[in-house]
């Protein structure tokens, strides 16, 4: 059933990576997020686990692997926080992983501008799912949109362009 190479749209290029790259990048993103957080609140503007979820979802263009990767990263992120029940980030990143891989199969996601736009939109989608889940299931107030989130989405999207170019180097040559 699970076949990472499976592709519904045969016209779109599927990128492959060296063994362990995706798992290594996901763990590194979680560790670096924790490290950046240690050095100040400014790092809250960038969410590395989300960027890694989007990047590999878009590159593999496989909704199944995209949503499973998103779920794994999200659940690990929940597990490393104290006040989040496990599943909060899991749900949001599952949906983001699925959406990113679905979108990646339909549009060009290699261009920096399309990457910027995609991350910008998915950042707000991720936040909206988080906020709705928190409000509906946990009864906690959570903002869907505010100035801080808007700035964070711009910073994350800008950073993603650089990060994605770096991650492109980990692809297997054709």
């Amino acid at each position: 059933m699970f076949n990472p190479g499976m592709q519904s749209d045969t016209n779109v290029e599927v990128h492959k990576y060296y063994g362990g790259t995706i798992i290594g990048a996901a763990i590194l993103a979680l560790v670096l997020q924790a490290f950046l957080h240690k050095f100040g609140h400014w790092s809250e503007m960038i969410e590395l686990p989300l960027l890694v979820t989007i990047y590999f979802g878009v590159s593999r263009r496989n909704p199944v692997s995209g949503l499973l990767l998103g779920a794994a990263i999200g659940i690990l992120q929940d597990a490393l926080s104290h006040d989040n029940p496990i599943g909060l980030y899991g749900i949001a990143k599952t949906l983001v992983g699925y959406l990113a891989s679905s979108v990646g199969a339909k549009i060009d996601t290699e261009h920096p501008i399309s990457r910027f736009g995609l991350v910008f939109v998915l950042f707000h989608f991720h936040q909206a799912v988080l906020a709705i889940t928190e409000r509906a299931l946990l009864g906690r107030p959570a903002p869907i949109f505010n100035l801080h989130l808007f700035l964070s989405s711009l910073v994350s999207a800008g950073f993603a362009v650089l990060l994605f170019a770096l991650l492109d180097r980990l692809r297997k040559p054709h």
Binding site: A34, S81, H82, D83, G87, L138
Partner: protein, 327 residues
């Protein structure tokens, strides 16, 4: 078995995974609503076991790189000096650095010793800081939460070092937070600026009681202070001991801003400890019940930590719910 065409398989899997996580969330909410002691889920253990060793290695590597970098810069700065004096300069610099290190360490130990003297009544257990009679555990911060909205951090002490939940975490500058999760070799600390955090506190001058609550921003708020109480910007806030976590009299922070509001003032607080630049912390075991019994008894006349000059009654505000210890 349900026959699902390959076309709809991803959507089916998505629905299943999301639904499973919704059920998991609902289960956790229901479990916590029962008011029982929250156990650490296995997945948190696994996540901590997976991530914290890497964080620990990263902290070690960074400190080594920092040492190498400092050494390199120091050596480079001597290049332009007079050749005949270079050897002597190098020797003096090394000597100077050694003395600076020793002086800094001595200063740190004096701070810890002062703290220990100021709180002789507070029974503390731990490991290694200031000799065999002392009982505070020093710990190094090895990482923080991967969730930006959760203000927590991981330290390199855990169950094996006798760390337990609800132990107070401090620095000589002020309080930092409390232990919320304990793993075999690491522990998770909830910082006082996390939105789930609350600390029983009082103003050092006016002795007005309140609760310093985290907001998720770098500046927590002092709640439950009525508008009739005058609050000065810059006024010091100390722990009241009512939360059964922190001993009375530890610095919490200073007032940054106070505005009248309904029903209580909105008071922003600058934490005394640099919460965004923590590297080393101290862990105390504050035996809450013993402390509370002590507070109810007449305090000794010369006890410096119990505030005998002006003992305050405990306010009965139902809204004031500082950090409540878990059994």
């Amino acid at each position: 078995m349900v026959d699902i065409s390959s076309r709809h398989r991803p959507l089916f899997l998505l629905t299943t995974v999301v639904f499973a996580q919704v059920l998991l969330l609902a289960f956790q909410v229901r479990h916590s609503d029962r008011g029982g002691q929250r156990d650490v889920p296995l997945v948190r253990y696994w996540a901590a076991a997976l991530i914290t060793p890497i964080e620990r290695a990263g902290t070690w590597t960074l400190s080594k790189i920092g040492g190498v970098w400092t050494g390199y810069v120091a050596v480079r700065s001597t290049r332009d000096e007079n050749v005949r004096l270079r050897a002597e300069n190098d020797r003096l610099k090394l000597q100077n650095r050694e003395l600076e290190t020793q002086a800094a360490e001595a200063q740190r130990l004096v701070g810890l010793a002062n703290f220990r003297q100021a709180h002789p009544e507070s029974p503390m257990v731990g490991a290694q800081v200031i000799g065999s009679s002392a009982a505070m555990a020093a710990a190094q911060v090895i990482g923080a939460s991967a969730d930006p909205s959760s203000h927590t951090m991981f330290i390199n002490r855990g169950e094996r070092d006798h760390i337990r939940r609800n132990m107070a975490v401090i620095t000589p500058d002020g309080i930092v937070g409390k232990i919320v999760e304990v793993f075999p070799s690491t522990a998770q600390v909830l910082l006082i600026d996390d939105k789930e955090s609350g600390v029983g506190a009082l103003f050092a001058d006016s002795r007005t009681h309140g609760v310093v609550k985290g907001t998720g921003d770098p500046e927590p708020r002092m709640d439950y202070v009525v508008n009739d109480d005058k609050v000065q910007v810059g006024e010091a806030i100390i722990t009241s001991g009512e939360d059964r976590i922190f001993p009375k009299g530890l610095p919490v922070g200073t007032v940054v801003d106070a505005k009248a509001a309904s029903p209580f003032q909105v008071i922003r607080v600058q934490p005394a400890a640099r919460l965004d630049r923590l590297e080393d912390v101290l862990i105390l075991l504050t035996m809450q019940e013993v402390n509370f019994r002590k507070a109810e008894e007449p305090a000794p006349a010369n006890s410096p930590a119990t505030g005998t000059s002006n003992p305050q009654p405990v306010p009965s505000s139902p809204a004031a719910k500082p950090m409540v210890p878990q059994p």
